[in-house]
Amino acid sequence: MSLVDDLRSEFHAALAGATSPAAARALRDQFLSRKQGKVTALLKAVGAAPADERRVLGAAANALKQDIEAALDAREAELAAGAPPPGAVDVTLPGRLAAPGRRHPLTQVRERIEDIFLGMGYQIIDGPELEDDWHNFEALNMPPEHPARDMQDTLYLAAPVPPMSAGRPATLLRTHTSGMQIRYMEAHKPPVRIIAPGRVYRRDNFDATHTPMFTQVEGLVVDEGISLGDLKGTLNTFASQFFGREIRTRFRPSFFPYTEPSAELDVECQGCDGTGCGLCKQTGWIEILGCGMVHPAVFEAVGYDPAVYTGFAFGVGIERLALRLYGVDDIRMFYENDLRFLGQVPL
């Protein structure tokens, strides 16, 4: 009897490994083939067994044969059920698509800012990158020899070039996008509610935190009765929408020649939620923009009556926000265009 039991054990051990139709077929041959099947051989051996054992042994061998047949049938049916239909493909292989292109991270931040202000009813304007002295400085309450010109170390053209549209020849690379706002006010009466995005240039160092070229979004609102409170409400809304949650802010008095009063806006540090960390030099605050109430001299320069109109203006540096948003610590990465970096920003 142990012969039968051994053979059954051997079969079941082999069955476990028979996971393909070919392996099941080989197993069937191995045990049941008419010529060399192991069970066939056993059945043949039954005739040679002593007469008193023959009946029991015969019954056991037949039972084994039926068990094996049933087990193989079941396995083959199981394997047949799992077989792929004709023309099946390996769906786990990668799909076919052209590698997607992405907007540059600075564009993404810029459009994110633009969209927030679009939602608040602002018009987006554009203007030339080469400016004349009037639009970049004088109309902004920075006459020649004004010490505030030192705040924006300017890159000048070796020779003037014709302006983009009619006007004075361009002599310098704009140090801010405020020139566009002057142009807009020269051409339109209040109310004004605009943002002016674009590249700006300063003769600044080129290191992990400075580039001689960067991107700004400036905003300007002019109407009767615009107040510093309106500036606060607008920029608080902007900060919360930009960072995607209610965020604490503070307005610190500062100085810009074209605004009076002037302020800088700090938001609570994203790195530590305002508790103090290396990112915010333990202050809990990160400065994100400069702003203020439009200086009456600017209104006079564009022919608005400062007794009637008030307004606020602000300027956001996009790179600085992008550093925070993407967790980048070197501003130069935005201008290297390493596709391994650009490919990480959202589509």
Binding site: G101, R102, I125, E129, A170, R252, D338
Partner: protein, 673 residues
């Protein structure tokens, strides 16, 4: 401005807590760079030269903490008598010149004085120079001391420098002056650049026994101009060019004389000479209560308005609807009402002002066409699998020159940061080439990038879009990874044009930066919008690109595209109601004949029912006669009013073939349905 708190506390009973003082002043507009023990380092904005002084900062702190500021000058000496040497002012660049002579014994300063200077970041030199520096830090008014023995005359003449007049300044540099610069001179020669730096020839030395103390007021523009022309910035010039206090010279001088006695460094001889021909008129600015509330968006109680302004040194009188405010001479930044509103606002506290939202009083205008254009471009091109790049507007001359039609049209920057940023880009391609090289050298084989932005020539600024492609168009396990070629670059030009609703044509052209034979001009009618082609490999190698598949690209001017796109939304055409008939033709034709010309011949010999001509195969090689190609085109015929018959279409096809044979020697290969 490094201000030791103990020094500030000599003038106001401030809390003995540097962090608290720093924090409170930080909220009033004085950003704090650092607090180091007792010393607070304030960043003083350009409009507040009065706070480039311990006393000025004490005044602000006294206002912020609402404590009394003590006047420093009650016990100052006021020596009477005739000044020992004559002073004459010969130029309007100097509005006041105060001077006193003292006999001195040169030596080191007492320890307490030297320690204060050091804490404020000024190196002690000797007792006399240290006194002038101490007064500058405390009062904010720069002073100078001359060795009287070295002054010709001795006398002081304030005048313009003579052209090319030479002066060795205290830093040992020999400077050539010009007649725009104001100098202090003795009888013969310049002994100091006014408000900037003294001369080495009259420097106080160990051998000095008599000094002349100068405490003057110079015109900001004059000092600024001289400082800039000489490339020389000093503590003195920084204060004068922002605007010193015209009331300060005599007081600063008296403070110096007090210190002279206190420290035992010397004694004044004679009186103070104070030449001040036209004393400055007092300035009064009206402040309206209503406009204060309107600009801040908050009502500050009258008592606070008056408290703040008085603390800050203004004289305040009630007036109809507000106040008449006399501006002290040290507040050179306060000229009009808004300036006073800022003073009230920052000490009232910006954080107390309630946040509101401005009412929308007009419907916003649509965004500028250029902004809408750029957004559309990005949408279309990123959708086509191109990555947006952002490259510098100014580049190296070597990178720019190969892409400029003429090197003379490049726009150089007068004062570039470095040679890497020397000229404005004449094209977007050089920047994109460098970006492509950067990525190719960092394990990225396939690059598809674009940028839109300003480009420059001596004719001015325009905007364009540029793109570069290299490597596999599509990288997939199933096979085809053929590299991008000319037609991929051309395809982007077609895509951009289509995005702006125009159909452009291409014609063979040459550009120095593109491979001859694989360069095309893209035109809209007769206007050339730009070029596409394959970049010259040597040019890429010069920028460091390792060998590899071709780099193709293009650039289009955007202004004409936007002009075309500016019209009304395009209307759709009704879908055809009758079936079309398609005929495919394959023929041998000369290899140099442009496809556009073949298309033109077909169109000009076809009836209006020919609605489309499209090439679908081009082959050269086995089975094609030498000098010829096999070109296959698909012709689609349709009539909007009826179903065409095979017979009439065949007539049209025959006519076309006859024309192709007659004009171009085309040989029909066979006809397939």
């Amino acid at each position: 401005m490094k201000a030791p708190l103990t020094w500030m506390r000599e003038f106001a009973p401030l809390p003995d807590d540097a962090a608290a003082v720093a924090s409170r002043l930080g909220a009033c507009g004085f950003e704090v760079a650092s607090v180091d023990g007792d010393v607070i380092d304030f960043e003083i904005t350009a409009n507040r030269p009065d706070c480039l002084s311990v006393y000025g900062l004490a005044r602000e702190a006294a206002t912020a903490f609402d404590v009394a500021l003590t006047s420093g000058d009650t016990s100052l000496p006021d020596p009477q008598g005739k000044a020992s040497i004559p002073v004459s002012i010969g130029d309007a660049g100097c509005a006041r010149y105060a001077m006193a002579v003292a006999s001195v014994t040169i030596g080191p300063s007492p320890e307490w004085l030297a320690a204060r200077l050091a804490a404020a970041g000024v190196r002690p030199i000797n007792n006399i120079v240290d006194i002038t520096n101490y007064v500058m830090l405390e009062v904010g008014h720069p002073m100078h001391a001359f060795d009287l023995a070295k002054l010709g005359g001795p006398e002081i003449r304030v005048r313009r420098a003579r052209d090319k007049e030479a002066l060795v300044t205290l830093d040992g540099v020999r400077r050539t002056l010009d007649d725009t610069m104001l100098v202090i001179a003795d009888r013969e020669r310049a002994v100091a650049v006014a408000g900037v730096m003294g001369g080495a020839g009259s420097e106080v030395s160990a051998a000095t026994t008599k000094v002349a103390f100068e405490s003057a007021w110079f015109l900001p523009a004059s000092v600024r101009s001289a400082s800039r022309r000489l490339g020389l910035k000093t503590e003195a010039s920084a204060r004068f060019e922002r605007g010193a206090d015209i009331s300060a010279p005599a007081r600063a001088l008296r403070r110096a004389l007090q210190l002279l006695t206190q420290t035992g460094a010397g004694e004044v001889t004679g009186g103070i000479s104070d030449v001040y021909p036209r004393p400055a008129a007092a300035r009064t600015v009206e402040l309206s209560r209503a406009r204060l509330a309107r600009l801040l968006g908050d009502t500050v109680p009258d008592t606070h308005v008056e408290r703040i302004l008085v603390h800050l040194g203004f004289a305040v009188r009630g007036a109809a609807g507000g106040w008449s405010v006399d501006v002290p001479t040290f507040r050179v930044d306060v000229a009009r009402e808004a300036d006073l509103i800022e003073e009230v606002g920052r000490h009232w506290g910006f954080d107390r002002i309630p946040a509101t939202f401005p009412a929308l009083s007009a419907v916003p205008r649509p965004m500028s066409p250029a902004i809408a254009r750029d957004r559309k471009l990005r949408r279309i091109l990123t959708g086509a699998g191109l990555q947006e790049a952002c490259t510098f507007t100014f580049i190296e001359r070597e990178a720019a020159e190969p892409f400029a039609a003429d090197a003379n049209t490049l726009v150089p920057i007068a004062n570039p940061l470095s040679e890497k940023f020397a000229v404005l880009r004449p094209s977007l391609l050089p920047g994109l080439v460098d970006a492509l090289v950067y990525s190719r050298r960092r394990e990225t084989a396939d690059v598809r990038i674009f940028e839109s932005g300003a480009v420059f020539s001596s004719a001015g600024e325009t905007t364009s879009v540029g793109w570069l492609l290299t490597g596999a168009r599509l990288s997939h396990w199933s096979g085809d990874a053929s590299p991008a070629d000319f037609f991929d670059a051309r395809g982007i030009a077609d895509l951009v044009s289509a995005a702006f609703g125009v159909t452009v044509s291409a014609r063979a052209a040459t550009r120095p930066w593109f491979v001859p034979g694989r360069t095309a001009e893209i035109a809209l009618g007769d206007d050339v919008l730009g070029v596409v082609g394959e970049i010259v490999p040597a040019l890429l190698a010069a920028r460091g690109l390792p060998a590899g598949p071709p780099v193709v690209g293009g650039e289009l001017a955007l202004a004409p595209l936007v002009r075309e796109d500016a019209g009304a939304p395009r209307r759709s055409t009704p879908l055809p109601r009758f079936p079309s008939i398609v005929r495919d033709l394959s023929f041998f034709i000369g290899e140099r004949l442009p496809a556009a010309e073949v298309r033109g011949t077909i169109r000009s010999n076809a009836p209006p029912t020919l609605v489309s001509v499209r090439e679908f195969d081009r082959y050269q090689g086995k089975g094609v006669p030498d000098g010829m190609i096999s070109l296959s085109v698909r012709l689609t015929f349709r009539d909007n009013d009826r179903t065409l018959t095979d017979v009439e279409v065949q007539r049209s096809v025959d006519a076309i073939l006859a024309a192709l044979a007659a004009r171009h020697g085309a040989i029909l290969r066979g006809k397939t349905e």
